[in-house]
Subunit: 207 residues, 4 copies
DNA sequence: TATGAATGAGGATTCATTCAT
DNA sequence: CATGAATGAATCCTCATTCAT
């Protein structure tokens, strides 16, 4: 009789992933040892290898769960909002909020992942996939706004979305490493201002 | 017996740094071995250690020379341009140009450096310092524009500059790793458009 | 609750031994893991340890059952044959037949056992004991032939028997590993020819 | 300036191989650790890996040098002997002599190699190749004897040679592990006797 | 100065064995 | 009795750094 097979396994995996993340955040992937992870998770090395065949798989799973789900989550949190502009606005607020309050560690993990992306194709593809999904979603919002006559007709949705995601990740790099003098709130405000200026010119707004 | 003291040493250092960079770009810092660097540079490991006391020092020097000089270079290339807007415009063009044509490897090195920044304070400080210098310079241009009545009086120069540098680095991450579907030219165009809309509202432009 | 005590245990043991043998034949003893054996036998590792206290014990039991019984079996199959020469002839035929048709895997197991004999005294003693028993039995046949005037009086039975067993095992090594170009039938024929020439010289045969 | 490149490297290799052999003879290949070999050779593990890329390569090289050269050596030692029978006789004497006096460890190494042959194709091929070469050489002697009218015309040289080599290796197994009661001298004598009886029947001998 | 052989601690991974359920 | 998760010592191999020549 299997004692716990159903979710006991999932719990263990999660324990390991949590331990791994916290170790990775401290020393990066390469410098983190499997022993470190085992120690932090309270398991033995051997046990760890029952759940992940390789140190690399831990990283990959972490990547998938911590970063890969971002697009889906963002979508879930905003899809019910009416109006392209409010939805876009909400996306940006969520990003800032997440960075600021909710998951400050995710930012650091993004950096660790980028560090590995240089020599690990799977990691690189993972990050690029996440990027594409985020851009797609933001672009779809903008397109919707254009279609609804809410936004400037000629706006290049994909370009704008790319810039937003790029800026988000760039800012994450610095913010997550404690760069002094960053004012996320002001950046959010200015970004929204610029977007509004650009997407909804006077002509439209006045209607 | 006489020769080799003045800049022969500097040449050797540069050879090593070049070799190191190309190795780092391929496997990252941790996975690159000193033997790799020695082999690529055509020198022996022993020789290498005459110029750099530690593998880490190679990285640090590289960081300083390849990334740390960016602010200074940007400044040198643009300081003589008259007018805040043309100068700002030029900065963005230079960035895109550098990414696109001139130093495509610098982008990858930036990623490698970020990977190390997680656990290496010196690297982190280096990256943050570069960030601060770049932001300072861009902000100074904007401030100048405001002072000259060229830009919107209330614009928060430091915030805007932060956003620009953040976006630049974020885009660099993806671009340097060959993310498909990125249109740097269009991004540059749209960025300039947005900035212009924001910084020089109709009221000012009409004057 | 009642059942399983008499020979159920023996059946289990046999299942395990069969599984173990087939695993050993594939990767040798050292490389075979207890998990391998458990998997092949359809039992759990834990169950396996109820029947054998140690991986080593599995090997030892296997050695005893698969190799150690050979002398006894050979004896049983030939003891009723009248005449020393027909009996000797039959022994050689049985050996070739076994190698050829019946138990091709036994040969490979002999090799595995020899591999262990280097560092395991018990295994070594087991193989040497089997050797001694086989030699003893063959020598006893020859001695009988001499006593019966069937064979050359001065023949050194133990020496000849040793040579036969040695040759048998040597040939087994190569045959069991698929060495190309071995003609067991011809070897059997020539061996019998030589033995006959040697043991029953013309003088005797003509009588 | 390379300090010692020419044969310093070969010397080191030999040192390592000697150490490895003595370790292998004691615990077999699998149980022998690289640390064992390093310790016995007086070198560090790291040094060892400068000369052999893998533990397995040490084994393979050893196989080649200690066993693979046997056919060549046998040939060199006997090729100048006139007459097929004297040459065949000498081969057998050399084998017994080698086993007895000169290289008692080679026999044990043969066993270790066989133990690996089960799961290592290269080792298996090596042993089979050595076998084929030895058989070929002995068969060529016999063929020569037949051609010269010295031996029985119908003798199947390859079969006889196979039997001899098989017997040699089989006997080696037992002898090298100290099996009691083996009389190599008597075996040699009886083998020669049998061969002579078989290959040079009275008809030929009387001529 | 330059060389590259040597060092040896450290890291990922395996596996015989135990034991709570 | 059976299960299979857990343990952790042991193994192969790597690599930054040193130093004799």
């Amino acid at each position: 009789m299997p004692k716990v097979t159903p979710d006991h396994k999932e719990q263990r995996k999660q324990t390991i992933l949590d331990a791994a993340q916290s170790v990775f955040l401290g020393k990066g992937y390469q410098l983190a040892t499997v022993d470190d992870i085992a120690a932090r998770s309270g398991l033995s090395v051997g046990a760890l290898y029952r759940y992940f065949p390789t140190k690399s798989d831990i990283m990959l799973t972490l990547l998938e769960r911590k970063l890969g789900r971002a697009p889906e989550i963002l979508q879930r949190l905003t899809q019910d909002i009416a109006g392209a502009w409010p939805r876009l606005q909400r996306c940006i607020e969520i990003f800032v909020h997440a960075l600021h309050v909710r998951h400050p560690s995710t930012g650091r993990f993004l950096i660790v992942a980028w560090g590995e992306a240089i020599q690990d194709n799977t990691v690189r593809k993972g990050l690029q996939g996440r990027y594409a999904e985020l851009v797609d979603y933001l672009a779809s919002i903008i397109d919707e706004g254009i279609a609804a006559g809410e936004f400037l007709p000629g706006a290049e949705s994909w370009v704008i979305a790319s810039m937003l995601v790029g800026m988000a990740d760039g800012i994450t790099l610095y913010w997550s490493t404690g760069t002094p003098g960053m004012d996320l709130r002001a950046m959010r405000f200015t970004t929204l201002q610029m977007l509004r200026n650009y997407l909804t010119p006077l002509a439209i707004r006045e209607e």
